[in-house]
């Protein structure tokens, strides 16, 4: 599904990703862990198409297409979804109107007919239940005045509505209490199918108790330095990132 090869990217004059490689297949959950500043969020930004990041070399192929050639909206329409670490507030744009517009544009891109209003409302109702969002929230402006937990639940709600092929969760667990963490993680698990995939970027192991990864990668200084199964996350939690540095003699 996704193939990142020898990616070098950064912002302004600073190179952050230095030879990053990753292969993700349908049905897989990949966790990317690593200390602060290792380039985890840069990876998420580059995948979603944030324009302030420049890719110097390497390639990202998604479902056979060159992702780097696409503007952010086309990446989303092809099936990439980024759950933001810090979702921005958009006063005056209701969640309902926002999602109606997003779905309309995505369907048009795919050559599908517009969604029926009744069908849209039914879908809203079903997906809200997954992340335990109440109706009042979706009538409000996007993220405006939301608590940290509400913002993250809203991200997963959008993911449920847009049904992406590849979801990238950028530190979705940060700032969540244990209940919100459980709701968010259950939402993600519920949305998992053999046809989609998920990249979970996290600093801590605790999210991975709920979203069980098939692979865990440790990122350091802009590339993956160690990969393993879910047990690697536990080992990291126990021994800390210094252990990796020592083991790899870096």
């Amino acid at each position: 599904m996704l193939s990142i090869r020898n990616l070098f990217a950064g912002i302004e004059d600073k190179e952050i990703l230095k030879g990053f490689n990753l292969e993700v297949k349908a049905g897989e959950v990949h966790a990317i862990m690593g200390p602060n500043g290792s380039g985890k969020s840069t990876l998420a930004s580059v995948l979603a198409g944030r324009e302030e990041y420049q890719v110097r070399s390497g390639e990202i192929i998604f479902e056979g297409k060159d992702l780097l050639e696409m503007p952010p909206e086309d990446r989303a329409r092809e099936g990439i979804f980024l759950a933001f670490q810090y979702p921005v507030e958009i006063p005056g744009v209701s969640i309902t109107n926002f999602l109606k517009t997003a779905i309309a544009e995505q369907r048009e891109y795919k050559g599908l007919p517009p969604i029926e209003p009744k069908e849209f409302l039914q879908m809203m109702k079903e997906k809200k239940a997954i992340v335990e969002i109440d109706t009042n929230l979706t009538n409000r402006s996007v993220n405006e005045g939301f608590s940290g937990g509400e913002k993250k639940r809203n991200e997963i709600f959008q993911m449920a509505m847009l049904d992406p092929k590849l979801a990238i969760l950028d530190e979705t667990d940060s700032g969540l209490d244990i209940d919100a963490l459980r709701i968010v993680a259950n939402g993600v698990t519920h949305l998992k199918t053999p046809n989609n995939a998920c990249i979970v970027i996290t600093h801590y192991q605790r999210l991975l108790d709920y979203i069980v990864p098939d692979f865990v990668h440790v990122m350091y200084e802009g590339r993956i330095v160690k990969s393993g199964g879910k047990e690697l996350a536990l080992e990291l939690e126990e021994k800390g990132y210094d252990w990796i540095k020592k083991e790899l003699a870096i």
């Binding site: 909206e73 979702p87 005056g92 744009v93 517009t101 544009e105």
Partner: protein
């Protein structure tokens, strides 16, 4: 204007033209003649404003005020394309008044069902019929000494609208005033609107122009008297052709416990200048001023507002928001005076701008002068760009760049648009704004 032909400046020629016709222009009415004479005298001291005129320095008026345009003949109303009135901005359920180049159109206006306690007529008719309300109030709010466009309008106008809402009357349907500029000339339109004690009504005025009107300049002066405890909502929508010009002066006096709310949306014409001057002329009254302007290409939109607190315990709220695109220019100049006797005043003013292009310009000047000591006042101005983080967030969900900008700007404008009291007009305006990107 500095150009001189045969030794006379443009202003002098304009003056000479109207001075020689003062007898016919005064309709045989001595009071009206005095007003015309005052205007002639005032204009002779001022003339048309040049670029050196502090209050009009950002406006290029030469294209509109020239020898070809200033001696307007009455337009031929029969050639007007009435398709102009098949427009989503025209309310279906309203008393309709159409002014063509400032002249009241009996054929296009529709006042059927107008209650007896509301008087609406051509201003020329009201004067020639010696209507006492018209003659008492005309020229009392718009001071010819203060502004060259007030004086030139007052010396030259031939017609306009007179409306008198009598005491205690509450109008169920709105009044819509449609100004149509039909020819490429400098026309004068005059309105006198008197809302008597405890009356209530809504007015929507819509500025349109025929699509072949070229560099037409409409100089409109409106005098609005909000009587004691009266309640007036006044919405102005400006959607003239890109070649047209509009100078729109509105003088409002609000008496004891009166309420006045105005929403001004400016999208059309090449050059628009709104002079909105509101005097809180009695205690316990309230004025709310909202404005949205969105110039594109090389449009120049200039809003000058003045809120004059003269009496205690009044409140004014002002919010003007703008979006400036391409090489367009916007000007906001807002003055709030709180005079010595205006204790317990609450006066708030805010101006916000979004620049969409590197070549767009905003000149903003909020001004607050306070001479009373027990008041709550604030004013502020901000100018920025569309938040790139918000744009990216929307795009990351599959929304195109254009649509994302349109969604954000519609949301930005909605803070003003939501104050338009008519649902259908509110929706039409929101639609027009969203299509502007």
């Amino acid at each position: 204007m500095s150009e001189t032909i045969e030794g006379l400046s443009l202003s002098d020629k304009f003056l000479a033209h109207y001075s020689s016709r003062i007898d016919s222009l005064s309709q045989g009415n001595p009071d009206f003649r005095i007003l015309r004479e005052k205007a002639i005298s005032a204009f002779s001291k001022m003339g048309f404003p040049s670029k050196k005129h502090e209050e009009y320095r950002y406006l290029k008026l030469d294209a509109f005020i020239n020898l070809q345009s200033i001696f307007s003949s009455k337009a031929d109303q029969t050639t007007l394309d009435t398709q102009l009135l098949n427009n989503p901005l025209i309310l279906q359920d309203a008393y309709r008044i159409v002014l063509i180049d400032g002249v009241f159109s009996n054929t296009l206006s529709d006042l059927s069902g107008l209650p007896q306690n509301i008087e609406i007529s051509s201003l020329a008719d009201a004067i020639s019929n010696n209507n006492s309300s018209a003659l008492v109030h005309l020229g009392t709010l718009a001071n010819v000494e203060l502004d060259p466009f007030i004086s030139s309008n007052t010396l030259a106008f031939s017609d306009g609208l007179f409306c008198n809402v009598s005491e205690n009357s509450k109008l169920e349907k709105p009044i819509q005033i449609i100004h149509i500029q039909s020819t490429a000339e400098y026309s004068h339109s005059r309105m006198l609107f008197v809302a008597e004690k405890s009356s209530k009504c809504q007015v929507v005025q819509t500025f349109l122009s025929a699509n072949n009107s070229g560099a037409a300049l409409n100089n409109t002066v409106s005098e609005i008297l909000v009587g004691e405890n009266a309640h007036i909502e006044w919405t102005t929508f400006q959607a003239e052709e890109q070649s047209a010009g509009l100078i729109n002066t509105t003088e409002v006096h609000i008496k004891h416990q009166g309420f006045f709310k105005t929403v001004t949306i400016t999208l059309g014409a090449n050059l628009v200048r709104n002079n909105l001057n509101i005097v809180l002329a009695g205690p316990n009254c309230e004025a709310n001023l909202y404005g949205y302007y969105h110039p594109i290409h090389n449009q120049v939109f200039d809003n000058h507002t003045l809120v004059d607190h003269r009496f205690p315990r009044c409140e004014s709220n002002e919010l003007y928001k703008g979006v400036i695109d391409n090489k367009a220019t916007a000007i906001f100049n807002g003055k709030v005076y709180v005079r010595k006797d205006a204790q317990k005043t609450n006066a708030y003013q805010s101006n916000k701008n979004i620049l969409l292009s590197d070549e767009a310009t905003i000149n903003t000047k909020p001004q607050l002068e306070i001479y009373a000591d027990d008041v709550k006042c604030s004013h502020g101005s901000s100018t920025g760009i569309l938040d790139p983080e918000q744009v990216f967030y929307l795009r990351s969900r599959g929304i195109s760049l254009d649509k994302a900008r349109s969604l954000l700007l519609t949301a930005y404008a909605s803070e003003i648009v939501e104050h338009i009291p008519h649902t259908s007009l509110r929706e039409s305006v929101a639609q027009l704004i969203s299509e502007r990107i």
